[in-house]
């Protein structure tokens, strides 16, 4: 367990220290160092869990489901920190952001990492809520970092919508605690995941059904499920790009993680009632709606970061749909999809950040000819988008293929809408991508200093997962599937 405490302590201490460091260069290096240390410790923890199996204490919990998200979170935190160093330096040089605000940025970056890791590793449903709300509070000032009218508007919307949404989740948590108090031997443990799982079958189905709806709406707001997604494109497009990368790659995952854990409880409680699959149906409905609506919205975007945030909604919808179908295959596909989407999408946001520096704007109409001006950025964007659109041999293809198979197995008719949605999304992405990458170079466009190493690492990883899922990873995901559905796929 020591590693787990260290994982939480590192970013927490980092946030405090970075709040005090005035030297910008030093701060960005410390930020990088803390992120790297967190990643190393999380890998050590993962190796330990692989060897010794799940661990838990009163407060914290590590099992196959959250350990893979813990490693993913600290990994993306690290690569984003690598990218953010030159990127934010460039932002500072152009005068968009004062040194004082940069201090806030670094400190809040680590605070955000802390809330994410806490939400994943806590054994307590209430602390999970506190951490997810804390993530909003840590990022809201970062969304408005540039203080443009648009940024302020985006941050206000983000604050209010997520605040109201997450309040519903708290009401759901209260209801769940209410149900648990009547069955759990020690009422104080009524929010403890492990205790709740042991007693899932005894929880009152009526109360749990109601609680699930509130919890789904609450955490679903954070996942960006349509029609609760309004904050997401704004917050992603107006905040600094490293923030978009971690919001899209981490926050959405963590919120979905919460939803899936609660679904496990609800399924247990409703198993003997009249609607045993209510939770799954709700997830499928929300997921499919998000997937289709976001795919259509891709076509009318004018801002490159808005474009990719709608693509995030689309993919989170797909993963939610997968969890809704349930069963070993659907769950495996959804878990894999969460993984590959995070890795790919954060690499795309990193590339997009560089591309908008080259063009000096985020407007798609004015980003042209990236391959000519700076081949690394142009090709990076092209491969990234090809990966996210689901082209083989990238990992997203694998997960979408598995998801389609699961759909054909249990809901053959829905395959049509899934395929249509995939084609719509593909067209939506490529009609914007083509001119940005190949178009004629505007006069005076020059290359900027970039660091494409994180992008290369991410894309190679996705390629690796797509060509041949490493045995340990498949095994790992399979253990998570066993935990969620009760039976393994492999």
């Amino acid at each position: 367990m020591n590693e787990l405490y260290l994982i939480l302590a590192l970013p927490a201490i980092g946030a405090v220290v970075l709040g005090l460091v005035r030297n910008l260069r030093m701060a960005s290096w410390i930020n990088l160092g803390v992120s790297a240390a967190t990643f190393v410790v999380s890998v050590m923890l993962a190796l330990r869990v692989l060897e010794q199996g799940p661990m838990h204490s009163d407060k914290l919990l590590v099992d196959p489901f959250n350990i893979y998200l813990l490693v993913l979170t600290s990994f993306i935190g690290l690569t984003t920190a690598i990218f953010s160093r030159p990127y934010m330096e460039h932002v500072c040089h152009t005068g968009q952001c004062s040194p004082q605000r940069m201090r806030l940025y670094h400190s809040m970056f680590q605070a955000f990492m802390f809330t994410m890791l806490l939400a994943l590793s806590t054994n307590n449903l209430g602390i999970l809520w506190v951490a997810v709300e804390g993530a909003t509070l840590a990022t809201v000032l970062l969304v408005s970092l540039y203080r443009t009218p648009e940024a302020i508007e985006a941050a206000w919307k983000y604050f209010i919508l997520c605040g109201v949404g997450i309040a519903q989740a708290l009401f759901g948590t209260v209801l769940l605690y209410f149900a648990a108090q009547h069955v759990v031997p020690n009422a104080e443990d009524g929010l403890n995941w492990l205790v709740l799982y042991q007693h899932a079958g005894e929880l009152s189905p009526t109360v749990m059904g109601l609680a699930f709806v509130f919890l789904l709406v609450g955490y679903g707001t954070k996942v960006g499920l349509v029609p609760l997604h309004q904050w997401l494109p704004d917050a992603h497009s107006e905040g600094p790009t490293p923030m978009s990368a971690v919001l899209s790659g981490l926050l959405l995952n963590v919120a979905l993680y919460a939803v899936v854990r609660i679904k496990m409880l609800t399924d247990g409680a409703l198993a003997t009632s009249g609607h045993p699959h209510m939770a799954g149906y709700l997830l499928m409905g929300f997921g499919l709606t998000s997937f289709l609506v976001a795919g259509l919205f891709l076509h009318r975007q004018r801002d490159i970061k808005r474009l990719f945030s709608y693509s995030s909604i689309e993919h989170m919808g797909l993963a939610t749909f997968g969890f809704g179908i349930g069963g070993p295959l659907g769950t495996f596909a959804a878990l894999l999809h969460m993984l590959v989407h995070s890795i790919t999408k954060s690499s795309i946001f990193i590339t997009v950040g560089h591309a908008s520096h080259i063009a000096g704007t985020q407007a798609i109409d004015h980003i042209r000819g990236l391959i000519r001006t700076q081949p690394s950025v142009g090709w990076g964007l092209l491969f990234g988008v090809a990966a996210i659109a689901g082209f083989p041999p990238f990992g997203v293809f694998t997960s979408e293929f598995l998801l389609l198979s699961a759909t054909i197995q249990s809901w053959p008719w829905l395959t049509v809408s899934l395929l249509t949605g995939l084609v719509i999304a593909l067209a939506g992405l490529f009609r914007h991508l083509h001119p940005m990458v190949y178009g004629a170079v505007p006069e005076g466009q020059t290359a900027v200093k970039v660091n494409m190493i994180p992008v290369a690492i991410h894309l190679l990883l996705v390629l690796w997962i797509g060509l041949a899922i490493p045995a340990f990873l498949a095994n790992w995901l399979d253990q998570a599937v066993q935990l969620i559905t009760g039976e393994g796929l492999l």
């Binding site: 307590n124 209430g126 602390i127 809520w129 506190v130 709300e133 804390g134 509070l137 809201v140 000032l141 408005s144 203080r147 443009t148 009218p149 648009e150 302020i152 508007e153 985006a154 941050a155 206000w156 919307k157 604050f159 209010i160 605040g163 109201v164 309040a167 708290l170 009401f171 948590t173 209260v174 209801l175 605690y177 209410f178 108090q181 009547h182 104080e188 009524g190 929010l191 009152s204 009526t206 109360v207 109601l210 494109p233 704004d234 497009s237 107006e238 919205f297 009318r300 004018r302 801002d303 808005r306 109409d365």
Partner: protein, 236 residues
């Protein structure tokens, strides 16, 4: 449920939560910001009192701590912060024009009935004597949301947000005799940080649009984006 069978303290509890709901309606009808802050403070005070009553009824001693916490945070500290902000923003005399007052009040009443209907299956379980309070608290949450929807003034929206938190707190106290202490402390911390951040935002918004009317924040809506884009094309 027969009210006469409840003990005096339990009846007190019901009365207090009903009063809290009444204050939510009063917030909905109040146009002056300073008065709204006062009403909000009273709601916080009622909740603190109610928590103390529940602590006495159920013998849950950790609830005395959360009663104290609620009193200091929701009845004193946050209202004081809001007051100071209103003074610094020179909004003491600000009076918002409330539109469709009757309609808003009627939908408020409808929302409360809706909350009763939602909680009905839970109430039928007869798991606790105080289930009635759960529907009242859901009503307070819904009214807080309604307040945020109908008001255009940023400060008023924040008061709606905070009164929603009050409803959540009431639900936790009444249905489950409060959350575990560490969760409750975490929630209180989040609420406090949120209150501070809202204060920061008031100044940012005013700097950016020279007003606190959040209806003017429309640059990022999908429709507006389309309009801006077509204007840009027209210029070209």
């Amino acid at each position: 449920m027969n009210l006469m069978h409840l003990s005096l303290l339990e009846q007190t509890m019901l009365v207090l939560s009903a009063l809290a709901l009444f204050l939510s309606f009063a917030l909905l009808a109040q146009a002056r910001l300073t008065t709204m802050v006062h009403l909000f403070a009273w709601q916080g005070g009622l909740l603190a009192l109610l928590t103390a009553v529940v602590a006495t009824v159920g013998g849950a001693h950790h609830l005395y701590i959360s009663a104290l916490l609620t009193l200091s945070l929701k009845a004193l500290l946050i209202p004081w912060m809001l007051h100071r902000l209103i003074r610094r923003l020179q909004l003491e005399r600000h009076q918002e024009r409330l539109e469709r007052q009757a309609l808003v009040m009627m939908s408020g009443a409808a929302l409360v009935i809706f909350s009763y209907w939602v909680v009905l299956p839970v109430a039928r379980l007869e798991l606790a004597d105080t289930r009635n309070v759960v529907s009242l608290s859901l009503g307070i949450i819904q009214l807080g949301m309604l307040l945020m929807v109908v008001r255009r003034q940023a400060v008023a929206q924040v008061i709606g947000f905070m009164s929603m938190e009050n409803g959540l707190f009431l639900a936790a106290v009444a249905a489950t005799q409060g959350m575990p202490l560490v969760v409750e402390l975490g929630i209180a911390f989040d609420v406090l940080v949120a209150a501070v951040l809202f204060g920061v935002f008031f100044f940012h918004i005013r700097e950016s649009i020279d007003s606190l009317d959040v209806d003017l924040l429309t640059r990022l809506s999908e429709a507006e984006q389309e309009k801006l884009a077509s204007e840009a094309e027209g210029d070209a």
